[in-house]
């Protein structure tokens, strides 16, 4: 019926507008959801869960970067280097899960 088609189009437009104007996260939630799905023990993740994982990941980037930067400053450098991250991983409990993963 013609009426139903109009409603569906309007709904689609609303969704697109919402996605464009509401940017709640600095990292794309859809990509985060893809990474979550790689875990075969996971059946479903609610949108709240995806949102929170995205936000906590943003906080983590900040934390990891700042910790690594302490080494940059300690060695009187201006450029944050890979070895600063490696050192932070070795010496900070919070980053222990990153030890032994093959990076590049």
């Amino acid at each position: 019926m013609a009426g139903n088609e109009e409603v569906l189009d309007e709904e689609k437009q609303l969704n697109e507008n919402a996605n464009a104007s509401i940017r709640l996260t600095k990292l794309p939630q859809t990509r985060v959801r893809n990474i979550i799905k790689l875990d075969h023990d996971v059946t479903l993740a609610s949108s709240e869960a995806v949102y929170l994982i995205t936000k906590t990941t943003e906080l983590f980037v900040e934390y990891f970067t700042k910790e690594a930067h302490k080494r940059t400053v300690e060695y009187k450098r201006k450029t944050l280097q890979r070895k600063d991250l490696d050192d932070a991983i070795k010496t900070t409990d919070h980053f222990a899960f990153l030890e032994d993963i093959p990076l590049d």
């Binding site: 709640l24 600095k26 875990d39 023990d41 996971v42 994982i53 906080l59 980037v61």
Partner: protein, 96 residues
């Protein structure tokens, strides 16, 4: 793709550092990879709890619980605030 866009990761890194100063390319790539590991790390912990409680869907509470189990207690208050804000936004969107 199992990585988050490096441009977004880089932006967050830059904002966390003083304006003077650069980030080496391999450092950006390293953080990009570590970030995917982090997502998997949290997901796995949250998923374990779900399985124990025989639930199929990971929810927001599971994430908060996972952060606590994994030693990221200091994130819980900020995450609760974000969750409140998120629910507000969703509510406004659906009622306007």
């Amino acid at each position: 793709d199992r990585f988050l866009p490096i441009a977004n990761v880089n932006r967050i890194m830059k904002a966390a550092l003083p304006k003077v100063g650069k980030i080496a390319k391999d450092a950006k790539e390293c953080v990009q990879e570590c970030v995917s590991e982090f997502v998997s790390f949290i997901t796995s912990e949250a998923s374990d709890r779900c399985q124990q409680e025989k639930r199929k869907t990971i929810n927001g509470e599971d994430i908060l619980f996972a952060m606590s189990s994994l030693g990221f207690d200091n994130y819980i208050e900020p995450l609760k605030m974000y969750l409140t804000k998120y629910r507000e936004v969703c509510f406004n969107y659906f009622t306007n």
